[in-house]
């Protein structure tokens, strides 16, 4: 009998990926609760009941004053101490898309030298000037401490954002690279760096950065959506894959879990 791993998925105020994020965590073996931000603020639930916390995608507060900005303000003002205690207690935090934007505005990322309150990286408007939905190829740094990507080298995931351009001063980026905090980078189908080429790098992110972790690897933020690759039929190539497999006489869809779900399994396994 394995111990229950409890995950909290934030909802409310315009967040919108909570159902599939909770589903992905459940598939990965966690017990996931969708919790309204106001429930946390009201103190009806406390973070110390959870091992994993997911800041999911969406448009918190309409993203009117910079994506994730108002969510970060709200969380810092009302549950800032609890959040820091959660990090201190070695809980896992994943921020996806709007959640990533929130983590950088909270200062939970990059988390240099255990400083989890300073904003030094940003996700700003896509260079292409518009919201974009597309699938991207990602390479994963095998030497990153990131808990969520252990044992993974590449994956394809969808991106869906208008403000996903990773931006920071050069010295900050150097430090991220040095600490192996750059977890995910946009690439081509063969795994070569996108080198800024649109649409492989869909937003103009510096160094093709799609996701970073804190130095401990327990806080992970990424623009692509792993929870939206929860089934093989999510992948844009799946009908071609299925046709090939049928001709080889095997079931149309692979039996193993999708890379998207693996991200969450890594998190759950971390506690087992």
């Amino acid at each position: 009998m394995t111990a229950t791993v409890r995950a909290l998925v934030l909802t409310g105020f315009g967040l919108n990926c909570d159902l599939e994020t909770a589903y992905a965590l459940e598939l990965a073996g966690a017990q996931a609760d969708r919790v309204h931000i106001n429930t946390l603020i009201a103190g009806e639930l406390r973070l110390d009941q959870y091992q994993i916390m997911a800041f999911g995608g969406g448009f918190s507060w309409g993203d009117d004053h910079g994506a994730g900005v108002l969510q970060a303000v709200r969380m810092r003002t009302n549950v800032g101490k609890q959040l820091l205690a959660f990090v201190e207690r070695k809980g896992l935090v994943i921020g996806i898309c709007n959640g990533f934007q929130t983590l950088v505005n909270l200062g939970l990322l990059p988390g240099f030298a255990a400083d989890y309150q300073t904003r030094s990286i940003a996700l700003t408007f896509n260079d292409c000037g518009n919201f974009r939905d597309d699938w991207v190829h990602l390479t994963i740094d095998p030497d990153s401490p990131c808990v969520f990507t252990r044992g993974m080298e590449t994956m394809d995931l969808p991106i869906r954002h208008g403000e996903g351009k990773f931006y920071a001063e050069t010295d900050v980026i150097d430090r991220l690279v040095q600490n192996r905090q750059v977890v995910l980078r946009y690439a081509d189908a063969q795994g070569n760096a996108a080198e800024g080429r649109f649409p492989l790098n869909p937003n103009g992110s510096l160094m093709d950065i799609a996701g970073v972790c804190d130095p401990t690897g327990r806080i992970f933020g990424l623009m692509p959506h792993p929870e939206a690759f929860n089934h093989w039929t999510n992948h844009p190539d799946w009908t071609r894959l299925a046709e090939n497999r049928r001709r080889q006489g095997v079931s149309p869809l692979p039996a193993e879990m999708t890379p998207g779900i693996r991200v969450f399994v890594n998190a759950v396994e971390h506690f087992r």
Partner: protein, 998 residues
């Protein structure tokens, strides 16, 4: 004292918004701008201390990594500066969230008179710029004077200390709410007042209205509640309820239909009854998956034992035509409230769109309010923000360009939701109000927005149309309300729910009170955005993001607790009764006391003369043309036509994967760039059952006969969902009619009788084809009056009527998503089959349109013949015998074969001599005929026998092969090479027309 915070990106960062403006200025007007930097402006009209100002500047509104900000004007250099802000009373979503953030961070509450307003400065650098160019950019690219105000300043006139000054678009009404009594001494008086007050009462209704208010018993009862002649609020209520938009008077009208050429004459009483309701009820009796139709905000079908899906479609034409962004976002966010207000409420699953606009490059003499290019940009962005910010995937959509849409554009929006089969043990599709249930208004507040929106939609657009009905939707507020209401539903707290859209409280309460047979409303309880609204304005305001809910008194406390948890405003504004009266009071004084059954009795039916003249009578004929000798060049030109070329830039802006159930995306193929036949989602993540959705628009065929337009549109939508793996036994439809005015007027609408006949024919086709294909109409709407009076040369105005248009949406259950199909060729060596019969049906085709003809032989639907073919194909897909399936739609075989090859980045070698079809068809007819009922399918040679066995006796033949050489080659019937084009050339040509757009 007000404060003004200016925020801008650090200079080393690309200003994507500025870059986009620069690009558009060049592309649209040839104006060269060297650089544009944008500054976000927050005007804070609130009493804050210096320390508070500093806190919000640093901790909320300025990103230290990317932005700089200042309470004094930022010293960005420019040659010309454009400032743009909202007009008073226009929804400022960012201003509202700024208030929320400041209140939370500072732990304060802004006063009623305080507020925050957002605006923008654009700093343009360009040596060639002048005031005229800056004005053009401001007025024709950035701002719409209906909702925004702007100022253009040169560098010389700029005062760096005062900047733009303190512009505070606060609404000040200084008006005491007043109920006015309307005299009804004669029909003429009432008609005159109706015109003065934009009541839009139908002149034929006026005697009935007067008769009611002059009735002795009615007068006695009214006197008892201190009322005499009708109040303005009462007449507004009647006007809203009787409007064509709400009451569908046209479809319920009496049509005197004739075909003089064959001496035929008949009367059709009520098109809705005969062509929509009756066939749907008949099909509902046959199909147990049809759960709820014809009465609620949306139709309901069974998804599985535990879940029902909910679907409806709407249009938002008039508002989008005036203010494209605001109209479209209000439209999509509005249609999303329909599933929310169906049964006890549904969670939103997906949205679809259809845009019909004038040519993007129109440069003719007519001057529409917005140029089609700008209008389309705005519509696309409105649906983008409305859908994306609601967290609802937009999985399918279409755009049709046609100069006849210059008069009024069409914006179709479709919504699909999901509800549990049971809520708290009760059937989720049922709802009712009962005496003593509380009337609760949830969501946004009420302002002057959208007043007379419903009645304006029932008028023809002109330069004098009142602009007040244009609004900006707020998906953020609505998403909070959506989450709240679903939680309340699941706890069994919702007895009845409906949305406040057209007609506002007047419609939502008026209609919901019919269930309990009465209501009492205390109008002063309705929360307002600002003081000073008259009672009738509160009653009919169309301020968005509001639902009306009936809850039992004992559930109120829990309902309000959940409402607070979700930060949603909910207010009890009255209760339902069984008195038979609509009873509205304001601070204890009665403003309405009307019998609810007034609307059901005695109003005259609308009447129309409908005179059909056949295409031959109208002089239509087939063109006398030869066959092309350069078919390759012809195909390339066809692929570059605006209605066939790539529009990848639109679905790329729409989140089509949120909710995690994407199966077939709007763009498919190796390069993920080819529009799919349909979208498929897996709405219940733990299940492998899917929902396929597609829609179709073929307005061009109406130039020949709207009967066949309608038949072909339904057939196409059906084929689309079958092509991806839908189930023929479970296909539901949604009809959305958009028709020009059909009321004959010798001067203003001389062809009104013909348009009326087209409507009759279209409705008949709807009935015939839906019955033949067994498609129940789960929902549908009509929008009449898609005409515009446009100024042209010499000061002459022209009435431009849209082609008779019906969008048809098809939704189908997919039993197992792992068997879904995409359209691209999968492997070299596969066989290519053409399924269905090709006929000499080029009338109204893209091919004829390309050559400047209309023709006569419009495609026809032979449903009895097509159905067994579709059944066979469904079996083939269900047994995974096909590798790819594509319906053949607009543009014909040539265009869709090219797309199949392009999608797979593989070659196709086709031979026209094997195409199943009528004899004596020439090669161009085989290539470009748009005959309905056809598919192009690729099949693994190993499955050839099983596949062919399914089609024995049906029109289906192998017409070629998938090749590894990336070329499309077609041999003519005589064996000669008809065309041979590289796939890369096809793709480049097809992508080029919209290739620069992102």
């Amino acid at each position: 004292m007000p404060h003004r915070l200016e925020i801008t990106l650090k200079p080393e960062l690309i200003d994507a918004e500025g870059e986009a403006l620069k690009r558009k200025a060049m592309d649209y007007f040839g104006i060269a701008v060297e650089s544009v930097r944008t500054i976000a402006v927050l005007t804070i009209d609130a009493d804050l201390t210096a320390a508070q100002l500093k806190t919000i500047q640093d901790d909320i509104f300025t990103n230290p990594v990317t932005q700089v900000s200042s309470y004094t004007p930022l010293p960005l250099s420019f040659d010309w500066m454009i400032w743009i802000g909202y007009r008073p009373g226009v929804r400022d979503n960012a201003g509202s969230t700024a208030v929320e953030a400041i209140e939370d961070m500072l732990g304060i509450k802004l006063g009623a008179e305080e507020g925050i307003y957002t605006s923008k400065r654009f700093c343009l650098v360009g040596s060639g710029l002048d005031a005229a160019a800056a004005d053009k950019i401001a007025g024709e690219l950035l701002a719409n004077d209906i909702i925004q105000q702007w100022r253009v300043t040169s560098a010389a006139d700029w005062d760096p200390q005062t900047g733009i000054g303190m512009i505070i678009p606060k609404v000040r009404l200084d008006h005491a709410p007043t109920v006015t009594t309307i005299p009804i001494d004669s029909d003429a008086t009432l008609r005159e007042i109706s015109d003065q007050r934009s009541l839009a009462l139908n002149p034929n209704d006026i005697p009935t209205i007067r008769h009611y208010f002059l009735d002795a018993e009615v007068q006695r009862q009214r006197a008892a509640v201190d009322l005499s002649d009708p109040t303005d609020l009462e007449l507004e209520y009647i006007s809203q309820a009787r409007s064509d938009h709400c009451n569908h008077n046209t479809f319920q009208g009496l049509f005197r239909y004739s075909e003089p050429c064959r001496g035929h004459q008949e009367t059709i009483d009520n098109l809705f009854q005969t062509c929509i309701k009756e066939p749907t009820l008949k099909l509902q009796a046959q199909k147990d998956w049809v759960i709820s139709v014809l009465w609620d905000n949306a139709g309901v079908g069974r998804f599985d034992d535990d879940h029902y899906y909910v679907i409806t479609g709407e249009t938002h034409n008039s508002p989008s035509n005036m203010e494209a962004y605001g109209g479209a976002i209000t439209g999509i966010v509005g249609v999303y409230r329909d599933p929310m207000g169906t049964g006890r409420g549904a969670r939103l699953l997906m949205g679809g769109y259809g845009y019909c606009v004038g040519p993007r490059d129109y440069d003719g003499d007519l001057k529409p309010h917005l140029h089609p290019r700008r209008l389309l940009d705005g519509v696309i962005e409105g649906v983008r923000d409305g859908g994306n910010k609601s967290g609802i995937p937009t999985t399918f959509g279409q755009i049709v360009y046609n100069p006849k849409y210059l008069g009024k554009c069409l914006v179709f929006v479709t919504a699909v939701g999901l509800m549990p089969a049971k809520v708290n043990g009760d059937a989720a599709e049922n709802k009712t109000t009962s005496p003593d249930d509380l009337i609760i208004m949830c969501g946004g507040r009420v302002g002057k927005d959208g007043i007379h929106g419903v009645t304006a939609a029932s008028l023809i657009f002109s330069e004098n149309t009142p602009a007040g009905h244009v609004q900006i939707g707020d998906p953020y507020t609505q998403k909070k309300m959506h989450d709240f209401l679903l939680e309340a539903r699941d706890e069994g707290l919702v007895q009845f729910i409906t949305d406040n859209g057209g007609g506002g409280l007047s419609s939502s309460i008026g209609e919901s009170a019919l269930f309990s047979n009465g209501c009492e409303v205390a109008l002063e309880k309705v929360p307002l955005k600002y003081a000073g609204l008259d009672q009738w304005e509160i009653w009919i305001s169309e301020s968005q993001e509001r639902m009306t809910v009936a809850a039992r008194p004992e559930h109120l406390e829990r309902f309000m607790t959940l409402s607070r948890k979700h930060s949603v405003e909910s207010t009890v504004i009255g209760r339902y009764t069984d008195t038979g009266k609509l009873h509205v009071a304001y601070e204890g004084r009665n403003c309405a006391y009307v019998d609810l059954d007034l609307l059901k009795s005695g109003f005259p039916q609308w009447e129309f003369d409908a005179v059909w003249r056949s295409p031959e009578e109208r002089g239509l004929c087939e063109p006398a043309i030869g066959v092309p000798s350069d078919c390759g060049a012809l195909l390339l030109d066809m692929l570059a036509r605006p209605n066939l070329c790539s529009r990848e830039w639109v679905p790329r802006q729409y989140d089509h994967e949120v909710q995690g159930g994407s199966v077939i995306k709007p763009l498919v193929g190796v390069d993920r760039n080819i529009p799919s036949d349909a979208g498929v989602i897996r709405p219940v993540l733990t299940s492998t059952t899917g929902l396929a959705f597609a829609q179709s628009l073929l307005p061009t065929y109406s130039a020949i006969d709207a009967y066949h337009m309608t038949a072909c549109t339904i057939d196409e939508a059906l084929r689309r969902v079958i092509a991806v793996g839908g189930d023929l036994a479970h296909v539901g439809g949604v009809d959305n009619f958009c028709w020009p005015n059909i009321q004959y007027d010798a001067v203003r609408n001389p062809d009104g009788r013909f348009k009326a006949a087209q409507l009759v024919r279209s409705c008949r086709a709807l009935k015939d084809i839906c019955l033949a294909y067994e498609i129940p109409l789960l929902s549908g709407k009509d929008s009449m009056y898609v005409d515009g009076n446009l100024p042209g040369r010499y000061g002459i105005t022209h009435k431009v009527s849209a082609p008779e248009t019906m969008q048809f949406s098809a939704i189908s259950r997919v039993p197992d998503v792992s068997r879904c199909m995409t359209m691209e060729a999968k492997q070299a060596g596969d066989l290519v089959y053409l399924i269905g019969t090709t006929r000499n049906e080029l009338g109204g085709s893209e091919y004829y349109e390309h050559l400047g003809y209309t023709g006569l032989n419009v495609p026809q639907v032979h449903a009895q013949d097509f159905y067994p073919v579709y059944q066979a194909l469904q079996k083939a897909i269900g047994q995974s015998l096909t590798a790819s399936v594509r319906g053949i739609y607009r543009g014909g075989l040539g265009v869709h074969a090219a797309l199949v090859a392009m999608g797979g980045r593989l070659g196709l070698a086709l031979d026209l001599s094997n195409v199943p079809g009528e004899t004596d068809l020439n090669d161009s007819a085989l290539m470009f005929s748009e005959s309905a009922g056809r598919f192009l399918v690729t099949v693994d040679p190993a499955r050839r026998d099983s596949f062919e066995a399914l089609f024995e006796g049906l029109p289906c033949a192998c017409v070629g092969q998938v090749t590894s050489t990336p070329r499309l080659t077609v041999n003519a019937q005589d064996g000669a090479e008809l065309l041979d084009v590289e796939i890369d050339t096809l793709i480049a040509t097809w992508e080029k027309p919209h290739g620069e757009l992102i």
